[in-house]
Amino acid sequence: MIVASVLLLTVAAAAFLYRLLRGPSIPDRVVALDGVLSVVVSGIIVGAARADSGITLSTVLVVSLVGFVGTVALGRFVERRGG
Amino acid sequence: MMKFLRLPSLIIWLTVLWCALWVDISAGNVVGGLLVAMVIVGVARPTGMTGLERTYFRPVSALVFGLYFLWQLVKANLVVAWEIVTPGLRINRAIIGVPMHSSSASVVTVVANAVTLTPGTVTVDVVEESSADGGSRVDRVLFIHVLHFRDVDSVRRDVLQLERLAIQAFGSRDELPPVDDELADLGVMGVGAALRVRSGRSSKRSTTVKKGSAS
């Protein structure tokens, strides 16, 4: 079960990375980064489930919040400097 | 109907978050959380909160709103997943403007966020216009990007359902009648009203206060 989740998340990360590299404009890449962030958060949670301990879950909060601030900052950047 | 004061509610919410982060509800932790929350609020001075403004929060309606919102999220994902997995795109994209009836910024923000997570819609812009007759009323229009666009009425219906539930949960009840009227024009009953009728309770008819120009 865990192996299946990790495989699916890896495919998801690969898909977002493809868009990160290819996306013709900056907002495309920001969208891809947001997706990579969600994959990372899900991955940490799956890892915590595998280790059967909730200790590592504090990192998820930090990643999620920092990612949100980063995405908003990139959005403002696009607004000012163009895509 | 509950009215809360804005600044103390923020402090209480921050304390709850603090206790949740530490997973510890002992008395010492709660006091520590209160202190930290007050320091943060004192230093950060959140905009729009000077201490004694009132904000509305009805827990039961908020729960209904939350459940409806979660259900819409699941439906949205089914729609998007179906679109992605099946070959051939059936998208018909458009940007539609939907005027909001509520004059409270928090309600409009909640609706704008919820619209992003409902099937096929993403909020693109929120435009504010101070009303022309010089009053303090601000009219807001949500511009929504729709993926499968059929007609304007269905988009308005979905957004107004959300607005009705949001006003029920987070706003003053005086603003309900215009929303109900427009929903009736579109041929539906609001979700909250439908639930109330089904449970046998009659809906309260609040007296409408005419605000300035006659509609």
Binding site: D34, I45, S53 | I95, L117
Partner: protein, 118 residues
């Protein structure tokens, strides 16, 4: 208990993967925003539910609830900021009406009229 939690996690990861495929497959920016805003959010919710079922501790459940609530609150805001910022910059392919362009055009007309009157 193990199986139920595992199923939730697999379905959540599957949904995130579908979101990723959508971001690759769609041809224009806003459709990709649709895919990336909705699918990974629900996928994360399901993965969190599965993990909460699997790790049966109170600490983990509270933290996971907090993560989900924060993600549900912040993800639409980030999406909206990005969509609004890129509206004027990137060519957004549309098949139908564009009310926002009409609105901005009407603003420009009003400004022009006011300029001519002065």
């Amino acid at each position: 208990m193990n199986v139920v939690g595992g199923i939730f996690m697999v379905v959540g990861s599957l949904l995130t993967m579908i979101g990723g495929i959508g971001v690759v497959r769609f041809g224009d920016l806003m459709s990709r925003v649709h895919a990336a805003a909705k699918a990974p959010t629900l996928g994360l919710l399901l993965v969190a539910v599965g993990a909460a079922i699997e790790i049966d501790s109170q600490e983990a459940t509270v933290t996971l609830v907090l993560v989900v609530v924060l993600q549900l609150l912040t993800s639409p805001i980030a999406t909206h900021v990005l969509a609004r910022a890129s509206y004027g910059q990137v060519d957004i392919a549309l098949d139908g009406d564009d009310d926002l362009a009409d609105y901005y055009a009407s603003l420009e007309d009003a400004d022009r009229e006011r300029g001519e009157r002065d």
